[in-house]
Symmetry: C2
Amino acid sequence: MIRIVLLGAGNVATHLIKAFSASSETEIIMAYNRSKTGLKHLDSTLKTTSDIDTLPEADCYIIAVPDDAVAKLSHSLPFSGKLVVHTSGSVNLQETDAKNRRGVFYPLQTFSKNREVDFSEIPICLEAEDETDYNLLKKMASAISVKQYQIDSAQRKQLHLAAVFVCNFVNYLYHTGYQITAENNISFDILKPLIQETASKIEKATPAEMQTGPAKRNDKKTMEKHLEALTLPEHKEIYTLLSQAIINTYGGKEL
Amino acid sequence: MIRIVLLGAGNVATHLIKAFSASSETEIIMAYNRSKTGLKHLDSTLKTTSDIDTLPEADCYIIAVPDDAVAKLSHSLPFSGKLVVHTSGSVNLQETDAKNRRGVFYPLQTFSKNREVDFSEIPICLEAEDETDYNLLKKMASAISVKQYQIDSAQRKQLHLAAVFVCNFVNYLYHTGYQITAENNISFDILKPLIQETASKIEKATPAEMQTGPAKRNDKKTMEKHLEALTLPEHKEIYTLLSQAIINTYGGKEL
């Protein structure tokens, strides 16, 4: 049984606690949060503390706090020589305190408070300074997911950046679709099957192979009509920039 | 049994032929295409023609050809007074020839040649000039899908535009994610669960409620790091514009 202390009580921490607790190979022996209030939503059978000096001996300490608080928390730990990993996509391993053995346990997914996630399908990106620690992280990851990847800090930074494009920016484009339909008394539901199919298509082919639309065909007439029909200046800007990027990529020709 | 003639043999036409042929309430009595070669991939039991003067009597003629060819084809039909509909998102009903009774039968989905689609989940947007024709279109739509919507030409134009954002532009963002991972020797597979989850989230909540990421938090430090890490100028431009749009929408505050 791998004994884990979880530091943090936000979305990622809460989802990790649930996943590790459900596995027979791992055990959350303590959850820490600097405020007691933040711990209240956790399962009542879980041992919790808001006193960093009372953390128990564990095989691994997982820091799951906002990106800009990771380094500081790693420095405030009252012990050394132990395996301390963080869950952030954008924090370099080197930024955490070298007094402990450092590592990264980064589950690449978008977590929301009131939404269940199937952890078994979430890719876990792992990094450690030596092989023994890496193997322990690998065991922990395989206890909750079927997908583990060795990703170094430089790669992780790029991966986090790619995630901003395919998750945060994509969601914003969903929002623009929502705005356009709402403005015209059209149900957003009409767009949902298209959204799901667009996401499903890239499971079987590359996004480049799946590109469609007026910009792909360099269909100037349709693009002009679209630009005229858009009412928000922000939508016009996005339309122009992304259409141009698609035209540049495909040279206006069907693949 | 509703008797349908399909004009066109591209992706949309092919998928419609399959769907109507599979229903017991509709029958494709003929498929027309101006070139014989274009008809070859269709089921051999289907009657086909490339001579527009030999089209049989039908309850409905469906024009499913590229947007810029719809009007011309409607003018070239050698009959009048019949129900002729087209399947295009961007062509106004008024653009087709008034010698026939006009309508629109627009299935809102992205169709690819070698990809099966479940038509029953595809929203079909309907428009007609009178109620009798509308009711026939509704029967045809319900024969192949559970989702029918009455959408006029002005709304359809906006819907088609929204579809460009949530499908074509979203797919291009998937492509940027692909480029970033490929450049850094990372498997694009790592991003796929995130892409699926991002699409799934909007089934239960609005995109605005589901927005996350550095721009949503107005986390300037992370955004600066990201901009530095991007190598392609086009990616930088997209990053800047979409981040700013998100900041403008949320005022840099968590909802």
